[in-house]
Symmetry: C2
Subunit: 105 residues, 2 copies
């Protein structure tokens, strides 16, 4: 009786783990596609700034982005420090794109 219950419990846990992993995989696919869209936007921003002689970095815009994302993170019950780290991680990649685009000219 005991061992049957343990077996049922393990089965239930396995099914739940499978469901959670399916959700994580779905969320990851959405994240990848959104990131692809975001980099399309930043590439256009880079081109536009280069064409019009605008400075590549904009510290005021970046500070506003950090504040906004941290507020959104709090609402979504996500660690605001992580939101800040996340934006820095993305911006690092954007700068890498800009640099490799510049080196191609």
């Amino acid at each position: 009786m005991e061992s049957r219950r343990a077996e049922e419990n393990a089965e239930l846990a396995g099914a739940l783990l499978g469901d959670l992993r399916d959700s994580i995989d779905n969320i990851d696919a959405a994240l990848i596609h959104l990131l692809a869209e975001r980099f399309k936007c930043t590439r256009q921003v880079g081109r536009l700034k280069a064409e019009h002689g605008l400075p590549p970095a904009d510290p005021r815009r970046e500070a506003a982005q950090i504040d906004r994302l941290q507020a959104l993170a709090v609402d979504a019950k996500l660690d605001p420090e992580f939101a800040k780290k996340f934006l820095a991680f993305i911006i690092e990649e954007v700068i890498r794109h800009h640099e490799s685009a510049a080196s191609m000219h």
Copy 2:
């Protein structure tokens, strides 16, 4: 005439830049909310694994996730190397969560 055209061009560029930034802000809000959902899932996975004495890391699952995300990235015209770095960045945070959850017991 020349200077008027230059002015119009600058105005157009400014409007386009504003639109692109609005899109980036919308995408970032979506990313933050998806990340919050993802961490809810991984927190549940962590609890489930702890309850059932399952090992916290699962290298086979992780390798499959990397392969899948890189294939999705190629389809979405996103650098697959970035997709890999992105997953590593997220998993690092997941491990940090598990460690801080474990230290609370």
